[in-house]
Symmetry: C2
Subunit: 496 residues, 2 copies
Amino acid sequence: MFEDAELGHAVDKAAYDARVTALRSELLDVQFALKDQRAFPVVLLVGGVEGSGRGETVNVLTSWLDPRHVEVNGMGAPSDEEVERPRMWRFWRSLPPKGKIGIFFGSWYTAPILEASLSKGRSRWARLEKSVDEIVRFERMLAEEGALVLKFWFHLSKAAQKKRIKELKKDPLTRWRVTGIDEDYFKKYDRFREVSEHTLRHTSTALAPWLVVEGVDRRYRELYVAEELLRAIKARLSAPKAVRPLPARPSDVPEVDAKRTLLTELDLTKKLAKPKYEKELEKLQGRLALLTRHKRFRDHSVVVVFEGNDAAGKGGTIRRVTSAVDARVVRVVPIAAPTDEERSHPYLWRFWRQLPRHGSITIFDRSWYGRVLVERVEGFCTPYDWERAYGEINDFEEEMAGHGIIVAKFWLAISKTEQLRRFKEREQVAFKTFKITEEDWRNRKKWDAYSDAVCDMVGRTSSSRAPWTMVEANDKYYARTKVLRTLCERIERGLG
Amino acid sequence: MFEDAELGHAVDKAAYDARVTALRSELLDVQFALKDQRAFPVVLLVGGVEGSGRGETVNVLTSWLDPRHVEVNGMGAPSDEEVERPRMWRFWRSLPPKGKIGIFFGSWYTAPILEASLSKGRSRWARLEKSVDEIVRFERMLAEEGALVLKFWFHLSKAAQKKRIKELKKDPLTRWRVTGIDEDYFKKYDRFREVSEHTLRHTSTALAPWLVVEGVDRRYRELYVAEELLRAIKARLSAPKAVRPLPARPSDVPEVDAKRTLLTELDLTKKLAKPKYEKELEKLQGRLALLTRHKRFRDHSVVVVFEGNDAAGKGGTIRRVTSAVDARVVRVVPIAAPTDEERSHPYLWRFWRQLPRHGSITIFDRSWYGRVLVERVEGFCTPYDWERAYGEINDFEEEMAGHGIIVAKFWLAISKTEQLRRFKEREQVAFKTFKITEEDWRNRKKWDAYSDAVCDMVGRTSSSRAPWTMVEANDKYYARTKVLRTLCERIERGLG
């Protein structure tokens, strides 16, 4: 992987000077086109070995670009707000919107590579492998969502690195760059090289390739990075719109034995009498309240997802949860049309940005599952897009669970007859808050298509760490207590 | 101020029950109208003495409201990201958008009142006075920007408080609420009462009144707060659109001796020869680079504002600044049309959200001064709105300076002839990045109106802590070095 980057690539001054002026104006041109069309975000990662000129090159590159449309993220130590969120949160919040170039100096590679280079345990390769898998899927998602992902690895041979660091140390102007680099550091070179080579090989994909830059010659590395960036943006700007491949399993194939599904097997006659409900409700709300005041709750957070048929009673159920706990602890995020900032980022961005800090509960009233429900059924996205969403959602929830977030997901199910009854009832009630829209009636006509989507969704995204709970909701009392009880149990298990 | 809240107000169960059901549905109705029309944000503050039922009331109130459109902000200890920003940043970032209710439990009053109650120094009243002034201006701004501001103060007499806390301590279910409240606490009651009474009197304004709630009776305080909230939203929803009073000084009065202004007195013939410029530039860029690596720089941040005539060379000057320092340290924020999230918040929100963390520089390419420049001249806002903006901007910059942010503001001035020359030159250059738009030509026709606006702006918003620097920019070399030199000097002074 690194052989080509140890050949001593260099550009002489004449060749450099002959190219630079034109290169800079071409860069500004494509940058302007990118910005003007708000075409796509450019995610540019910079990694590599110490002394290989990463920082200098980024500085030169940004000085050639229009600085108003580049964001350089020096990912130093995470802040406490970042520490309280899943590992990837700080990268998500720094993702550039469409039309901008986001340079990540230090990235999601930094921690896994360092960890595998420095730790000693026998499981370090296994852990690295896991990180590599996650990264590949994350970057694929970025690319599928339209981002142009470019990754530059700055390489130096061991000898070249020694020489370079000696030089940097001599010069009072650059000495500060290499503090803490001593003999001990070079001992780790081989290990670091082995780990990063492995990582790079396994994360260099068609949609997010690694480009290895030889870091010895300043002019070479500057031209290399700038030319690659220029070419990549230009090519993408003029590329024909990608036509997504058809998923292998068309969604309109009739199921074999479709009579029995997750939904048909629900016993919607389940009921709870009012007096019992009231007693039960009070008990469960008290239990939930106590849990949120538990000492260990301060180091956890909870994410609750509510999905369900129209008129299944999500609103009322959510109110029974929120009213149980201190209002400062809980926030409800209703999912409506995305804002323009949200639209200019990958699909999951608007959910990532809402993840709670420690000691808090966030309730999503509808959620990221919109993509595999309404967007699928209504044809708002291609089959390829909603098919890939299952995997992306699983990864998202894995991130949460891996960070200790307690995840609970509820599908509130009612029968078609019960829905009709509620629609009619609502039409007669004056409260505008419950008005029935044309859309509700339209959705109802697609009942079967929605049912298929729900079964697929649950089947493909329910896991022990982020399980779906199917809630029989024809009877509101039964539904609410089931939700509260399940939520309490999930939190209890999460707190250990 | 508190007398009426020590009378023993109470509501009996029958009266409460008779009202609550209707009240709740009325609340949901107005909340729905508020959300549906995205009419305005509601900012609801909750303060008061320990044991007065603040938390319980907020919990009941939110359980009556649709929780999807209420955000409760329990303002606990600030995070490190908040500590690195001016005091008010954490409140700005939590302001609700139009259509939502934001409840602040703990607010911008908490710190000043506690500080004045607990500290001993003789200057504590003076400091309180200063805070009170700032708060009054801040809330006026919120109200002028369309927010409905309601402030509830929960009061208990000393005797009532003692009794209440005794009760709370007895009950194992509520004991946790009153940890740390002992005899010592009651000694401070009088002081706290004096300070808060003073503060409330001076911050109760027509646009942001305090409502004092007697905290003894649960039913009373719940109805009180809910009824007030209901009435206020309802009244505002049906209020006629406010017509802004005309400012006392119409902007089209010709100046006396308008021949001499800040702009006419600039010597635009100032020049720097290229060889001298190149030497000077290198020296200044090196100086700036060193400053950003200074140990004390890690505890400061820098905000730079660039405004100027069209084609005055802002872009080129900004590039000379950004290319001097490490790309990770600096971010350029180009100000274009606000996003829809920005539009649903007060005007200054989109600038507040960009304030840098410690150790960073944020450069605004155009800025909050748009309101007193383009918006004034083009009539995008009323004279009343841009007149009040001067004061709001001064407050904003005071907040920054008070927090130790180094603020530098540059007006890049060119002559009308020089602008024409540059426009024509640009029209002939192929780079699309520099294209001249219809708008540029239109703006040019209003040269004099813009000049008046600039002079007013500088006159009214230049201060020793956030000074304007007028930059003679007919000669780019001269302009760039003047900007860099001024910026270095500002940072040097700021670092002390």
